[in-house]
């Protein structure tokens, strides 16, 4: 447990020190979401209708920008092989790094999402639904992204392949995430959608650390 916490805290401190990554991700999210009103026009009804989808796609793409950093730096500087020789099972190493990624790269997006939701004229019920659906659904982005990151860690410029591997697997999260917000805006129960999102997160939590661990073992060889 101490090794797990040490690794989690180290990754979080490193992300804080190398603040450029967080700034870049947040800036991308804000700019990408802000571009939509400029592109589709300022009609408030239209913005409110497309808002949930725009925010979820924006968060998803911003998250995608950071996935290669989950393992890449540790692989390149030799830290990864030292971690593998340590006392922590590789699946827990993966889990610690996924948690650190979610906290440092995804959570800030969720925190700023209500402000962007207001700018997209989202109904107040929709704003809360947006935050809740992002909180429940975005762990899947980090979990699946870690598998993609591990599969492409040994490749130079593997970012495009990583996107191609990961984006199709994000589709279910996107569908249920957006559907939950739309349900809340339409004053319909959003529980079923959130439960499906939660199910996806739990399923990914069970499968993805093992898949990423297997990929990392191959990469280190």
């Amino acid at each position: 447990m101490n090794s797990f916490l040490a690794l989690l805290m180290r990754d979080m401190r490193l992300a804080y020190r190398q603040g450029s990554a967080l700034t870049m991700t947040l800036s991308f999210f804000v700019i990408a979401v802000t571009l939509f009103p400029l592109g589709v026009g300022p009609e408030l009804d239209v913005l409110a209708r497309i808002g949930p989808g725009v925010l979820w796609v924006g968060a998803l793409l911003a998250c995608l920008l950071t996935l290669d950093r989950i393992f890449q730096a540790d692989y390149e500087d030799g830290t990864l092989e030292q971690l593998l020789m340590g006392p922590l099972p590789i699946e827990f190493i993966v889990l610690a790094k996924i948690m650190a990624h979610w906290i440092t790269s995804v959570l800030p997006l969720i925190i700023v999402s209500p402000i962007l939701a207001i700018s997209l004229n989202l109904h107040s019920d929709g704003i809360w639904a947006m935050v809740i659906s992002l909180l429940i659904g975005t762990p899947v982005l980090s979990l699946i992204g870690a598998v993609g990151g591990a599969l492409t860690v040994a490749m130079r410029r593997g970012g495009v392949l990583l996107s191609l591997l990961v984006l199709p697997l994000y589709i279910p999260v996107l569908i249920f995430g957006v559907a939950s917000v739309e349900a809340a805006v339409a004053l319909l129960p959003m529980g079923p959608h959130l439960m499906l999102l939660g199910g996806l997160s739990l399923g990914a939590l069970v499968v993805c650390p093992f898949a990423a661990a297997a990929a990392l073992r191959l990469a280190v060889e």
Binding site: N2, S3, L7, L14, T79, E81, L83, G86, P87, V220
Partner: protein
């Protein structure tokens, strides 16, 4: 404590790197692995560190096949490879503190002192020279003590004074009951070290 290797063969991407390597190492011993570039020194060390699977052969620690209990084996070894395993945004002390916490050991102050890193311990690693980074990496051996040291080119980037310092620390380690296996092109003048020449293995094996 002892390490035994029997009939070890390494194939990487369909290329035979070496075959039928035998070696043994006990407490108080140093084994110097020699060989030309590409002879398989690093591959051998990576296999012994558990980072690479051999094509065939057995590596055993205290009589137990390390494949059966890899965690127990890896708790007993420290590996220094070609890369420094240092986070450049951290200081040398912070890097060592992390490895110390991660491995559940607590010997950072002694490690900094042993490798004469006290004056630069709180400088970010990114501003350190190659030799200072190498010493910060080697300090992990003291900060996180383990009986078996597997060292791949441990003195590259070190000047002669620090090579002597490292040599003394290595000899102190084996005198205290540790053991070390190192691959280097540089003769460190270790009188007690046994040699394993991978070039000879090729000549014998054809």
């Amino acid at each position: 404590m002892s390490l035994h290797v029997q009939s070890l063969t390494c194939i990487r991407q369909d290329r035979l790197i070496f075959k039928s390597v035998e070696l043994s190492l006990s407490s108080g011993e140093i084994l110097w692995v020699k060989g030309r570039n590409g002879a398989g020194k690093s591959s051998l060390l990576r296999i012994l560190a558990g980072l690479l699977k051999p094509a065939s052969g057995i590596v055993s620690w205290d009589g137990t096949d390390v494949e059966q209990e890899p965690e127990q084996y890896q708790q007993n070894l420290r590996y220094v490879g070609h890369q420094d395993a240092l986070k450049t945004a951290y200081t040398a002390r912070e890097n060592l503190n992390f490895w110390s916490q991660y491995t559940g050991t607590n010997n950072v102050a002694a490690a900094l002192e042993a490798f004469q890193l006290q004056t630069i311990a709180d400088h970010p690693v990114r501003i350190l020279s190659a030799g200072q980074k190498k010493r910060s990496n080697l300090a992990r051996l003291i900060a996180c003590p383990a009986p078996l040291w597997i060292l791949d080119e441990p003195v590259s980037s070190l000047d002669t004074d620090y090579i002597d310092l490292f040599k003394n620390l290595l000899e102190t380690h084996v005198k205290a009951g540790g053991m070390a296996l190192l691959a280097t092109h540089q003769d460190l003048g270790l009188q007690s070290a046994r040699h394993l020449d991978l070039n000879d293995i090729w000549q014998v094996a054809g």
